[in-house]
Symmetry: C2
DNA sequence: TCCAACACCTGAAACGTTTAATGTAGTACC
DNA sequence: GGTACTACATTAAACGTTTCAGGTGTTGGA
């Protein structure tokens, strides 16, 4: 056991209240006392007990963040910026990782309750409704990511998928592309459906046909398959907008296998700006959802909500930004042929 | 504020002590009382206050983990398995992310002290010596990763770099490679030096010349540079063992630019098994350090240390495993030429 | 009938802080 | 010299648990 505030008080010949005031910059300790106490604190190697502190102080200074998958490269950056901002605002942070498991989600939420967090950022697609009730009842601030309506104590972070896709389509349009398709929507996952819908809207706004949707599994294999499926389309599209980067990598693999060059013969775009997208050949034009912004905004939103006297939630748009790299180029007018036999062969291989 | 244990006690017409016993499976509450209390707990939506619990109970049930960079894909997996195991053993977990900043490292360590952790896993290359003293003084268990000696209260996790490199060299040797070099050591970083030294030892054990060391920055650019440098060697090596996957990706890029095919003309291996290594073309033969094992072992080690009566630390080897993929192939006897002029041109470009 | 043993339950003192409420000098002003 | 401040310090009551040291009632054997 380390020294307690009482040890410090005794050693400095003051009361524990004075020590507390010095440590928290509350009350008005004289500069002399202040320095003296600080010296004793240092000499004794005293660190205040966080639990006692939380227990004694009326309102805890803790925020929680629950993510669905800490191994998904999207989240660590969000966590870091959330934590950095929270700390700046004077909060502790506790982390929950659900691994997409409703059971772990429940336990994570309970943990937030047990730690009496002041607010919690929920970044999972499903949220346990009953527990959310429990949270609301305790007047704890909540932010969701792309989920549900804004209400009392509940703010929402909305990723601007539309703007991201709009920038992609505009970029390709500028390059002369007119036949573009979307690849990789997976039913049931909101964030992907939003991208697909944005694509359709952007195409229609330009008087273009959005074409068929090539479904996929959101991963590499799905991209490869979608790539080969693209080759069967007549006329062949000059650009493919992938639902995410991994699918885009798969697409490129598929095209390359078939003898098509990217971007000379066909352009490909991704979404998410994962590390992979940068080092693959060609490097992939993609959309960056500013993850640091997302984390920081979540912390700000919770702070605002929990320190307002009228805690009405609001929406926070999270911007998306086009990153142009090597996988997009001018549209080709003439179509380079892939022989029928070769294509068939390829389709069998995969 | 939610209900407290007193509310539950009043409602159930028992004492708070009884409620506590029911909740912690201590004492001997009668089954009847037990069920009744549990029902009230549920009805009231009571969750015990973690801070009060920690404060009141003699020994805290919290472990800490400090990592140098949560955005490095290595760590999230470690964190997840550490946390899963810790929770299994009945601990809470608090996380510190230092972002390689000594200042944040200090604050993270202080936070561990403030939360009265029972043990802390330190996975950063530098550790603040003074704070470590402070930790030792409080008899808190510590595990380091590849750092410092074992002592009282301090265990060490040792990644078996030697075995990993040995497997790589043996694999290449079996494929007929004899002229191999190592690429990418960066002075000062222990984990990389260990790989380089292992390489030299493995080569010598086979009576082979380890050749020059191509220094690099451990990243993509360093790999590209090392790749081009390799081309200037006479005779050209038939295989390059990269210090990590990112360097390997760079190497492949360099070779491909120069017109060499991987693995037909030259084999390349990586280390770490990052996601990128799988999707790049060709996919990279690499070494997997079992990150889940690492996290789990850290939690186990802390548990063991902190619940032993004689808390003497020990070493825990972390195995490494070769993953054979497409970037390695049989050694070529004849050397395909890269023209002098083209090479020079390439070197200027990068 | 008495006593010991047992099963179950409770009272109350911690745990280490914060924070109102209160106290006590010293100073300035009339 | 009295009054009203001001500037510091302190006392003591929370905060919500755990846990030790009993307490009470029942059972069973002598």
């Amino acid at each position: 056991m380390g020294p307690t505030i009482r040890d410090v008080a005794r050693e400095a010949k003051v009361s524990t209240a004075t020590v507390s005031h010095v440590l928290n910059n509350t009350g008005q300790p004289s500069p002399r006392t202040r320095l003296h106490v600080l010296a004793v604190v240092r000499r004794l190697g005293y660190f205040p007990n966080a639990h006692a502190r939380n227990l004694a102080s009326r309102n805890s200074r803790t925020l929680g963040i629950i993510v669905s998958d800490i191994e998904n490269p999207f989240f660590p950056e969000v966590i870091r910026s959330f934590e950095a901002r929270a700390r700046q605002l004077g909060y502790e942070v506790i982390l929950g990782d659900t691994n997409y498991d409703p059971n772990l989600m429940r336990r994570a939420t309970e943990r937030m309750l047990e730690h009496h967090v002041r607010g919690v950022a929920v970044m999972t697609s499903e949220a346990n409704l009953q527990l959310i009730q429990e949270i609301a009842r305790r007047r704890i601030a909540v932010t969701f990511l792309d989920l549900g309506p804004v209400q009392e104590y509940v703010s929402n972070l909305r990723i601007d998928y539309f703007s991201g896709i709009e920038q992609v389509v505009e970029h390709l349009f500028q390059l002369g592309h007119r036949r573009m398709i979307f690849a990789g929507e997976r039913p049931g996952l909101k964030s992907n459906i939003a991208r697909r819908e944005a694509f359709i809207a952007c195409m229609k706004a330009r008087g273009l046909d959005p074409g068929p949707n090539l479904k996929g599994d959101l991963r590499f294999a799905g991209g490869v398959a979608a790539g080969l499926a693209t080759l069967t389309l007549k006329p062949r599209p000059t650009a493919v907008v992938a639902v995410n980067d991994l699918t885009a990598v798969g697409l490129i693999k598929g095209f390359t296998q078939a003898g098509l060059r990217v971007p000379e013969d066909i352009s490909v775009t991704g979404f998410d700006k994962i590390q992979l997208a940068e080092y693959v050949t060609p490097s992939i034009t993609t959309v960056d959802i500013h993850r640091d912004w997302l984390g920081r905004t979540a912390a700000d939103a919770l702070h605002e909500l929990s320190s307002a006297d009228k805690p009405q939630g609001r929406e926070y748009p999270i911007p998306a930004e086009l990153i142009v790299r090597a996988s997009t180029g001018p549209a080709r007018s003439r179509e380079s042929k892939v022989e029928g036999r070769k294509l068939e062969e390829l389709l069998l291989t995969f």
